[in-house]
């Protein structure tokens, strides 16, 4: 894990997926990519270029693609079904529920353009509900990588894991905060920074904001812990319970609906095991057009917002 001052590069998490899929394709003939007309946007196009015989276009028909992915998986393939998050988790939800999750099939669902960081396309293309929609399915694993390097690891691990996996990826470049040799295990949260006063739990783009927030808090002598909870499901309960016990206050931050997303995950775990005050930052309204930066400000997901929430959580201790 890098220090903020060492963070130089930025890349969208979808690029990490594109690289991971290529690497998988070279190693395993059973990897196939399915795409619903967003081939370049999702980076499935990189795989298509090298492995045209293992790439399948489904047109703008996400439901058909998802059930066809099930057919591939039933035939021993490991299909990556790629489209925008809204069209995967939303439009094809019943296909995922019945054709994929019910049969516990080896289908990997790639939902790019997650969150408001999609930017100018506005609400229809900003997936704000996938964590909630996917984690409610019994067999589904849900991963939200925080940067391109982590996204590549998540892609490779997803292929190794038996059963359905949903990976939420982003459109906009994100600072690369992890390193190639940082460990990554599905279902194992990462302690980004230790701290004793309050814990910030984040996933995806908000991990970087959490790092910035911790710096700001340290100037006010508040020692914040940061957890990168890249796998909302199955969730790493231990890392959350330990943080609750040791810091006594929690802030969650996600570019996703606060109804059913990361905040809900954390709340569910801690209310059962170690209730402490929790402040949840997330989205409660429809998305809209704007630059990612403008939207992060508008939806109160910037480091400065996390700082405020942390202080409020501390007061509730």
């Amino acid at each position: 894990m890098k220090k903020i001052k060492d963070i130089k590069e930025a890349e969208p998490t979808r690029d990490g997926f594109g690289k991971g899929l290529l690497e998988l394709g070279r190693k395993n003939k059973n990897i196939v990519a399915l795409s619903a007309d967003l081939t370049d946007s999702t980076r499935a196009g990189w795989f298509k270029k090298e492995f045209p015989d293992r790439f399948f276009s489904f047109g703008v028909a996400e439901q058909d693609m998802m059930s066809a992915a099930a057919g591939f998986a039933l035939s021993g393939k490991i299909p990556f079904a790629c489209t925008f998050g809204v069209f995967a988790a939303g439009r094809a939800w019943d296909q995922i529920r019945v054709s994929v999750d019910y049969m516990n099939l080896n289908v990997k669902i790639i939902g790019t353009h997650g969150g408001i960081s999609v930017g100018e396309d506005g609400h229809t293309h900003q997936a704000l509900e996938e964590i909630a929609l996917m984690r409610v399915l019994p067999n589904m694993t849900v991963i939200v990588p925080c940067d391109s390097v982590e996204a590549k690891k998540a892609t490779i691990k997803a292929a190794e894991r038996k059963g359905p996996v949903y990976i939420r990826l982003g459109r906009s470049p994100l600072p690369i905060i992890t390193e190639e040799n940082d460990p990554f295990e599905i279902g194992k949260g990462i302690l980004v920074k230790s701290g004793s006063d309050v814990t910030i739990v984040a996933c995806g783009q908000t991990v970087y904001e959490a790092m910035r927030a911790a710096e700001l808090l340290s100037k006010e002598k508040i020692d914040a812990r940061i957890i990168n909870l890249h796998t909302p499901k199955p969730v790493d309960e231990d890392i959350l319970i330990e943080a609750a016990k040791e810091t006594g206050a929690i802030v969650t931050a996600e570019e996703h609906s606060i109804y059913g997303g990361l905040g809900s995950v954390v709340g569910e775990v801690l209310s059962r095991n170690c209730p402490v005050p929790i402040k949840m930052l997330g989205i409660k309204k429809c998305g809209q057009s704007g630059s990612p930066q403008e939207l992060f400000k508008y939806f109160n997901l910037m480091a400065e917002d996390i700082v405020k929430a942390a202080k409020a959580a501390l007061k509730m201790k």
Partner: protein, 274 residues
């Protein structure tokens, strides 16, 4: 492949209908008429056309059947048991707690190729299987039985485009064309006609036959296999509730099971037929 004796098949069909009715009465619920319309179609596949081995349900080179209209599963279960996929004794567990014979098909029961029940998904699943088979140069065929009411689902037509786009001549769709769905006659609920033209315009080879005639079904399935470079759909004209006069063409029988007394009447009627 040598054809089985049609008279024997007809006898077996009668017994299958009796089994289905008994299963439904025992379960106390289920889909009676849409199962009875499927009997000859599914039998023609398992007792004639499909390459399969009940002793090796996972055999790589088997042909596949996806029952997209999952609610007709009592017919499939009865025929799979008859073929030897699992003990016939298990049929009485249909729809009961802990059974492998779920209210709609679930993989895990030998012979079931895909879990279905939410309408419209089967043809897409079948396409995935057919594409995977082609990738691996496996000469297998994938059959997919759809209901006519099911064709209201937009996903069916997405899948129809896909099969045609990829020239999937190893796909054979079969429509159990009984002209009825849960709310009534198909033509009143949502107009399907001109159905053959619809499929044709989507790039499919379309064939039609009497879905209760073993001769016609076997002929049509044979011809379908010879059609290259495009998928084939067979519109199998059937009667919903076929075989039992008071169930036939009566929409009320879509989603209910015969009561004891009705079962007795139905079995008697079937037995009295030649």
């Amino acid at each position: 492949m040598q054809r089985p004796d049609t008279n024997e098949l007809k006898k077996k069909a009668k017994e299958t209908r009796k089994t289905i009715l008994k299963m439904l009465t025992e379960a106390g619920s289920g889909h009676t008429s849409g199962s009875l319309s499927l009997v000859e179609i599914i039998m023609s596949l398992y007792f004639y056309k499909m390459r399969h081995d009940p002793k090796r349900p996972g055999w790589d080179m088997r042909d596949r059947l996806v029952l997209s209209k999952g609610h007709g599963c009592s017919a499939l279960y009865a025929i799979l048991a008859e073929a030897g996929y699992f003990p016939k004794g298990e049929l009485v567990t249909f729809r009961k707690f802990g059974t492998r014979l779920q209210g709609h098909p679930q993989i895990g029961l030998p012979g079931i190729e895909a879990s279905t029940g939410s309408l419209g998904q089967g043809l897409s699943i079948a396409n995935g299987m057919a594409l995977a088979a082609r990738m691996d140069n496996k000469d297998i065929r994938v059959y997919c039985i759809m209901g006519d009411g099911e064709l209201n689902e937009g996903q069916v037509w997405e899948a129809a485009m896909t099969a045609s786009h990829y020239n999937l001549d190893n796909i054979c769709g079969i429509v159990d064309f009984n002209k009825m769905q849960i709310d009534g006659w198909c033509c009143d609920v949502m107009k399907l006609e001109p159905l053959a033209d619809k499929w044709r315009s989507f790039g499919w080879n379309v064939m039609e036959c009497d879905g209760h005639s073993f001769e016609e079904l076997m002929d049509t399935l044979d011809k379908a296999e010879k059609v290259k470079h495009k998928p084939t759909v067979i519109l199998a004209h059937t009667i919903k509730g076929k075989g039992v006069s008071f169930i036939e063409n009566d929409v009320r029988w879509h989603g209910i099971a015969p009561k004891k007394e009705e079962l007795e009447r139905a079995l008697k009627e079937l037995d009295e037929k030649d």
